[in-house]
Amino acid sequence: MTVSLIAAQLFSGLTTAMFLFLIASGLSLVFGIMRVLNFAHGSFYMVGAYIAWQVVTWLHPTGGAFWIAALASGVGVAILGGVVERLLLRHLYGQEELYQLLFTYALVLILGDTAKFIWGTDQLSVQGPPVLSGGLHLLGTILPYYNLFIIVVGPAIAIGVGLMLSRSSAGRLLRAAAYDREMLGALGANVGLLYTGMFVASSFLAGLAGALITPIVSVVPGMDVEVIVQAFIVVVIGGLGSFWGTFWGAMIYGLTLSFGILVFPEFSLFSVYALMAVVLIVRPWGLFGRPIR
């Protein structure tokens, strides 16, 4: 095993990890604060990817306009999330969790079919931003600038959201809502609006992640389910509802996958599931989670 090989796996593992973090963080925040397990989070990510492709195709068929497309994906999916929360999901708060699961699962099916209806079943690809073409020669391997960008953006978003939760007044309100929604309402906070805001923000992150992955992975039906399974594994490893747990869960997932390929090439995905199984046996509430009171 050479240094360059290890470096290459490290960079690819970190890139995977940061993509997964971008996706799983919204899933984890919505569960941690609203106690809603949103199966459709992966579908929001897929819709974000399709919107990015669509915007790039409209504006600049030969490539370019990537940043505008990424922003449009985030905003478009945020609006979609807002509509879903206000009109539908809101009515299921306080109901059995099974109803929420069924509802979000129905959304997975509806959004999946809608995407196929609009965009077909072909693989679509999007060119990355020209600014970030090329790569960095590092430790005998090449780290594409775009991957480097993702490796930097992931922790930046993590620190930003982490600070928002721990230091800002909005973060304090969200943590109080996670702890006792009814009491916060009795103190005068419009918790319904707070929930909508939370869901919109989480949808924005999903849409943005969907757009950002398009230069690396082609846009296809089925990417929604694939990613939601991975995001759930990340969140389970890190601890459901724990924000930093999600970050480290994604890191562990990404690096286990990339180095697992080196050790057991035939069983690369197996290593991740094995890891999850071990975590669930040793700490069923995840590495950073807490046992349910």
Binding site: R175, A176, M183, L184, G185, A186, L187, G188, A189
Partner: protein
């Protein structure tokens, strides 16, 4: 016109009805106490006024406006502060964060701020950076009251403030509530501790099976132990 006027409310939890046509009034500047044993509907009355368990019928007139059916946050912003029975502080938030969240949630300016609450309850200032869950029972109760005060309410609903506290702490708490009353704050208090409530109340309502069984000035019960025994033996 009374400040708060609850008119013939009936409230149920699912299929089990708890309040059967309960009515009461609170005038500005008064301290009114709900007395009665466990399960007669004192907490449900509080929850009905606050909108947490909205009454199925009847009216809750707050400053001449029927607030029955309003969401709790609007009732809070209209000037009713709530100190719930089980305190329900945000245990993972620090003392200061608990107060800050409450001040922002209500968004009502006035005499009370985090600073003035900490003047009244110095222990909250001393422990401002500790998680609320680390406080003792008495300190938690002070935090709950402080949390309601920073919303600058015109009426304070106090549900069983002395429950589960040591006698010495109960005495301190009574003095603090008396101070608030002396400042002119209107208070509706629900208590099982008769001595505690009679020391503070101007008027009392004795509840039985979800309705008012007796009402009158607190002094009448203070001066007539026989009447008190008869009512509380219900």
């Amino acid at each position: 016109m009374p400040f708060l006027s609850v008119e013939d409310i009936r409230t149920s939890y699912g299929l089990s009805q708890v309040l059967f046509g309960l009515s009461l009034e609170v005038n500005q500047g008064e301290c009114v106490c709900l007395l009665g044993r466990n399960g007669v509907g004192k907490s449900t009355t509080m929850r009905s006024i606050m909108g947490l368990t909205p009454p199925g019928s009847g009216r809750v007139l707050w400053r001449d406006q029927n607030v029955a059916g309003w969401p709790p946050y609007r009732i809070a912003r209209a000037g009713i502060g709530f100190v719930p029975e089980d305190r329900r502080i945000f245990a993972e938030l620090s003392v200061w964060e608990n107060l800050d969240v409450a001040a922002r949630a209500a968004g009502r300016p006035g005499r009370w701020s985090i600073a003035t609450v900490c003047e009244m309850f110095p222990v909250l200032g001393e422990r401002r950076n500790q998680p609320g869950g680390f406080l003792s029972g008495g300190e938690q109760q002070m935090l709950t009251i402080g949390r309601a005060l920073v919303g600058n309410p015109d009426l304070l609903l106090l549900d069983e403030p002395s429950e589960g506290l040591a006698p010495l702490i109960v005495d301190q708490l009574r003095e603090k509530i008396a101070e608030l009353k002396a400042e002119g704050l209107t208070i509706l208090l629900a208590e099982q501790g008769v001595a505690f409530s009679l020391a503070l109340a101007d008027r009392v309502y004795v509840l039985e099976k979800g309705a008012v069984r007796h009402t009158g000035p607190a002094s009448a019960l203070r001066d007539d132990p026989a009447l008190l025994d008869q009512l509380m033996a219900l």
